[in-house]
């Protein structure tokens, strides 16, 4: 448990850091995938099997691929940034804020006695339970989610297709 946690944490953190620091966009995405995998591993460690599958299926299978496609459609296929500046203007402000927030969060977490507790259960939730919850107690959020996803799908297509429609 402990070793797995530390290994996964290392993977996650390294993946995240690489994802936002590499020059090559595709490398960034690949690091992001590493990060997603690390998070998925954490879910497995936390006994959320279903979330593990969802994480892999959605983030690696869908989101990462989507990002790769977006990169393909918006740059030269090599994906390198070239000689241009990678960091945006006022990057120091962003980094400063991030550091401040990280420090504050750490301080708050360290202060809170609640956070030192250890796990209470061991068995993982059964999928049937989750499924039943979906169609019983959480039906309305589920439907709302369905509507949202449909709207997002249509919206994404419309936004991305805009040019084509105008040409016709």
């Amino acid at each position: 448990m402990e070793i797995a946690f530390w290994i996964l944490s290392a993977i996650t953190v390294i993946g995240a850091i690489l994802a936002i620091t590499m020059r090559n966009l595709v490398h960034c995405v690949l690091s992001l995938i590493l990060f997603f995998l690390g998070i998925a591993g954490h879910y497995l460690l936390l006994r959320a099997d279903f979330l593990f599958a969802v994480q892999v299926l959605i983030y690696i299978g869908a989101v990462a691929v989507l990002i790769l496609f977006a990169i393909m459609l918006t740059r030269h296929v090599t994906g390198t940034e070239g000689p241009r500046e990678v960091l945006g203007g006022k990057w120091w402000a962003g980094m400063g804020t991030a550091v401040i927030i990280a420090g504050l969060l750490w301080a708050i977490i360290g202060k809170d006695p609640l956070t030192s507790i250890l796990p209470v259960g061991t068995a993982s939730t059964s999928i049937a339970e989750i499924g039943r919850a979906f169609v019983a107690d959480w039906l309305v959020p589920l439907e709302a989610m369905a509507v949202l996803l449909t709207a997002a799908l249509i919206g994404a297509v419309v936004i991305a297709l805009e040019e084509v429609i105008r040409k016709r």
């Binding site: 402990e2 946690f5 996650t12 953190v13 995240a16 994802a19 936002i20 966009l25 960034c28 990060f35 998070i39 954490h42 936390l46 959320a48 279903f50 969802v54 959605i58 983030y59 869908a62 989101v63 989507l66 990002i67 496609f69 977006a70 459609l73 918006t74 940034e81 241009r84 990678v86 945006g88 006022k90 990057w91 120091w92 402000a93 962003g94 980094m95 804020t97 991030a98 550091v99 927030i101 990280a102 969060l105 977490i109 360290g110 609640l114 956070t115 507790i117 250890l118 796990p119 209470v120 259960g121 989750i130 919850a133 989610m145 949202l148 996803l149 997002a152 799908l153 991305a160 040019e163």
Partner: protein, 103 residues
């Protein structure tokens, strides 16, 4: 040393800060979106950690995490579609160059 909730929370805070840093300081819109995804994931990890350590009997956290993941997926689809549309318009996805809404 056993892994406690605090470990997860600190990890998640750290990841959140990394994502924030990426979202704030990179020029490329896609990387900004990636930073936001990292922040999302950090948040969801928090949910799951709390569920595991405190509210194991309840399904709410898992449900919330699933919904959050779905919303993140929808968000990234829209975001990337926007990036593509912006690229068509400006021939660039540099967030510093997207400023026609300047005051």
């Amino acid at each position: 040393m056993t892994v406690s909730l605090a470990h997860y929370l600190m990890l998640s805070a750290f990841l959140f800060a990394i994502g924030l840093c990426g979202a704030l300081s990179r020029k490329n819109a896609i990387i900004v979106l990636m930073g936001i995804e990292i922040m999302f994931n950090a948040g969801i990890l928090n949910f799951v950690a709390f569920w595991h350590y405190k509210y194991f009997a309840s399904l709410t956290a898992q449900m919330f995490a699933i919904f959050a993941i779905s919303i993140a997926a929808a968000e990234s689809a829209i975001g990337l579609a926007l990036v593509i549309a912006v690229y068509r318009h400006y021939q660039s996805i540099d967030v510093d160059e997207m400023r026609s809404l300047k005051g």
